[in-house]
Symmetry: C2
DNA sequence: GCTTTTGAGTTGAAAGTTCAACCAATCGTG
DNA sequence: CACGATTGGTTGAACTTTCAACTCAAAAGC
């Protein structure tokens, strides 16, 4: 953008960066593969079902759900249509305020997440936690929080002030 | 998969996991936004151009390039068609072995990356390195390497054995 | 109280990605 | 040296995601 030389990445930064980009594309891909293979759903769809399953009444407003899964409302709407067609969720206008839409996990939806969860958790463990020491897991938590803060708000995890 | 209870994530793991997923989806999105806004290309396209620009003769075989950018050959082929249409790359059959295809960065392609790079590097710095201490940057490098190893081969960064 | 504005959500078309089928060149093997 | 198997790459169709336009309900102005 500006005309003066930017501060390029040094070798260490470069290596960290390449590793991060590579992991950032390959980890989601790996999770998608596992879920697609064992449950026939994408990681995004899984997250939608999972967040609903953890919510009171198994219910969330579409916009809240979109925030949790870090997706656009439009993307969520299309996905919700597919999930609804499968019978895993239902959508109803919020009786308390007609311009909100509530997404509700159905019983079949619950069964679906319940069936998919163990395999998914095992994969997360295998790829992320098992290869790390306890100390590294803690470091990862702190690092993730800092980068997430830098990216900005819209965060699923409520802001924790301590780093 | 198996019928016995899986080992669920404890609270600390859960938090680390949510942070990682959130960062893993929002960081690429943020990079895409910056590049799209300032250069009119996606992060994936940028990576293609960048890897070519760093390669001898500004040339790489399609399959090698696909590995570097962690994408399928098909995806790369479609992308290459678009980049070629813009005049940023050329494709020719490898004279040495007719079943390989060489992707070559053109002069305009070089100019394109050169123009996009400073803004992109600045964004990477802002989002990833500036918020971290030197120690955390080192930790991130090690953690990334371990997770990357767990995911498996096909890695852009040549395998480094020390953790 | 009627109109304008704002915000949540949906929709359809365009762009991008994946999937499976395909082509073409090389390698192996008899 | 011929023929099937393999490998690198492309293509088109199906699917997903994005983008911009639109709908509808609640709030805000006046």
């Amino acid at each position: 953008m500006s005309t003066d030389e930017p501060r390029w990445l040094d070798d260490d930064e470069q290596e960290a960066w390449l590793a991060l980009v590579s992991t950032g594309t390959r980890l989601p891909a790996a999770l998608d593969r596992q879920l697609q293979r064992d449950a026939g759903i994408s990681h995004f769809e899984y997250q939608v079902l999972a967040w609903l399953s953890m919510s009171p009444e198994r219910t969330l407003r579409m916009s809240a759900l979109a925030n949790f899964v870090d997706g656009s409302l439009s993307r969520l709407s299309h996905t919700a249509k597919r999930l609804e067609k499968e019978g895993w969720i239902r959508r109803t206008p919020d009786p308390a305020n007609g311009r909100y839409t509530l997404a509700v996990l159905t019983d079949q939806g619950w069964d679906k997440v319940a069936a998919a969860a163990p395999g998914h958790v095992a994969e997360v463990r295998r790829l992320v936690f098992d290869p790390l020491t306890k100390a590294q897991q803690k470091q990862l938590r702190q690092i993730g929080r800092r980068i997430s803060n830098a990216i900005g708000p819209d965060n699923a995890c409520p802001a924790t002030t301590n780093d």
